[in-house]
């Protein structure tokens, strides 16, 4: 049986047809019910935190040590009354340092699923050239901790056990660029500090609250369940094919600075600040485009996948749609505005994942 991956619609419809057929044949097969099996996986990947994820001004000044990560995850059987899902990733960087990069914990009881994932990495802001920044002021310490926290509350879909949906919350702390406007931004003038083009907050904050949906294709493929954009071939006990594992949140986004911007602008430049914490709509898409191989045995299933994984955390602020109320009315004022596009998360990197159910 082979399914051609031509489009989202065809793949989705094909996978539903395939998995429906598989579910039927599975019921009549000698395979042990996967819902009684424990699931364990190991993933080797590039660290999710790299300077490559930034664009614009931030790409020139944000630095992380190059690193790889080892992640382990364990899930109790789906038939258990109290389901537990725990995971952790350890990062080893180019400096020889090893530290915890992320933690994952989830429980499901009474049909309600609660999941929390945290991730962090130390980074630093460094001049783009030599020892001096060019028209940029770095607020606070140049060393920073980038953080990512995601909390999901929801439930599995009745006819699609590999998928879950509900409410999602994400908190991100990472460098942000605030563009600075004055009556003249063409540098400073004699005897006074420079009026920079941008103020960099090394630990700018974003909060996203919205609807959440996620699907895990590897586990689904290992026991012939439905996946998301999952097109599997079968040959005896072998399964192989492409899948797109996704975790999506779409909702309201609010961002704010970790610094006292009013005081910075007054003390540094003698100006009164015009600034509003931006808000709008945002979304996070965590993706894993993977080639999956799986092998089914009577009482156990094994899977191996590799591909590209990453995360896009983006948003549009109300100012992008409806304009801004900020203004610099005279020479005594300055305005700061978050630079859209430069301040979001774009993590990506290769991975290899090994999993087994037994």
């Amino acid at each position: 049986m082979k399914i051609q991956s031509l489009s989202l619609a065809s793949v989705l419809s094909s996978s539903i047809v395939l998995t429906s057929a598989m579910a039927y044949s599975s019921a009549a097969s000698a395979y042990e019910d996967h819902r009684n099996m424990k699931f364990t996986s190991y993933t080797f990947k590039h660290s999710t935190w790299t300077e490559d994820q930034y664009v614009g001004d931030l790409k020139e000044v944000v630095n992380f040590a190059d690193a790889v990560a080892h992640a382990v995850e364990f899930r109790t059987p789906e038939n258990a009354k109290f389901k537990l899902n725990v995971g952790a990733a350890v990062r080893s960087d180019a400096n020889g340092d090893t530290e915890l990069e992320s933690l994952l914990g989830a429980v499901e009881a009474g049909g309600v699923f609660i999941r929390m994932e945290t991730s962090s990495a130390p980074g630093y802001i460094a001049p783009e050239e030599g020892s001096k920044f060019r028209n940029k002021y770095v607020a606070g310490e140049r060393g920073f901790t980038a953080k990512y926290l995601q909390v999901n509350i929801g439930k599995s879909l009745d006819h699609w056990p590999a998928a879950r949906w509900g409410l999602g919350y994400i908190h991100v702390q990472q460098p942000g660029t605030l563009n600075m406007y004055t009556t003249s931004s063409d540098g400073g003038y004699s005897g006074l500090p420079n009026y920079p083009d941008a103020i960099i907050d090394p630990e700018y904050q974003h909060d996203l609250l919205g609807i959440w949906l996620d699907v895990d294709n590897l586990q689904a493929a290992m026991h012939d369940s439905d996946g998301f954009m999952l097109a599997m071939n079968r040959k005896g006990g072998f399964r192989y094919g492409w899948g797109l594992t996704m975790d999506m949140i779409f909702g309201a986004l609010k961002s704010h600075s970790s610094q006292d911007l009013d005081k910075i602008v007054k003390d540094n430049y003698g100006l009164d600040l015009e600034y509003n914490d931006p808000f709008g709509i945002g979304w996070s898409i965590t993706y894993r485009l993977e080639f999956i191989t799986a092998y089914r045995m009577p009482s156990s299933n094994f899977g191996l996948s590799f591909g590209l994984e990453g995360r896009a955390f983006q948003g549009f602020y109300s100012e992008d749609f409806f304009g801004t109320s900020l203004s610099v009315d005279d020479g005594s004022e300055a305005a700061l505005q978050l630079g859209p596009g430069d301040n979001m998360v774009f993590q990506y990197g290769p991975f290899v994942r090994l999993a087994w159910e037994m």
Binding site: G270, T324, G331
Partner: protein, 162 residues
Amino acid sequence: MLKLRSGLLLAAMSLSLAGCDSYPDISDSERNQPDPSEASNDTFFGADDITEERPVLATLSSDNTIDHYKFTIFQDYNGPLTVTLSGITGDADIELYDFNLNLVSWSRTADTSEELIELWHDAAYNSDSYDNGQYFIRVYTRDAGLISDYTLEWDFDQGNAE
């Protein structure tokens, strides 16, 4: 991946409503430059000038735990730059900042030991966007109850200039 980012940004831009200005309105001023208010030397903006020839003698106290100074190296020379805080009667420290107010170097020795900053001044960064030969010094104490006299001076050694 870059194409994906560009595509998403272009999509966002195309969604923006026509006629809405997403950037702040900037009013023209007569001088066409910022016109800041007066400030004390508790702030960078109110930093006092300090010359190479005349050291500063001042005092930190519970009412004044921080002072700022500024100086400029006008010559287009490279050379060693030193900043010294001496005659300290309490635990005071110094930090050196560049034209953009980013921290360049510091000395935070404990107790009443002399504080010394040494660095190489690179004239290659003498431009309006990088440095302009201008530096700022912050003298401060973390002990608000402390009273400390101090002598602050700086020196640029043109003898080693290139």
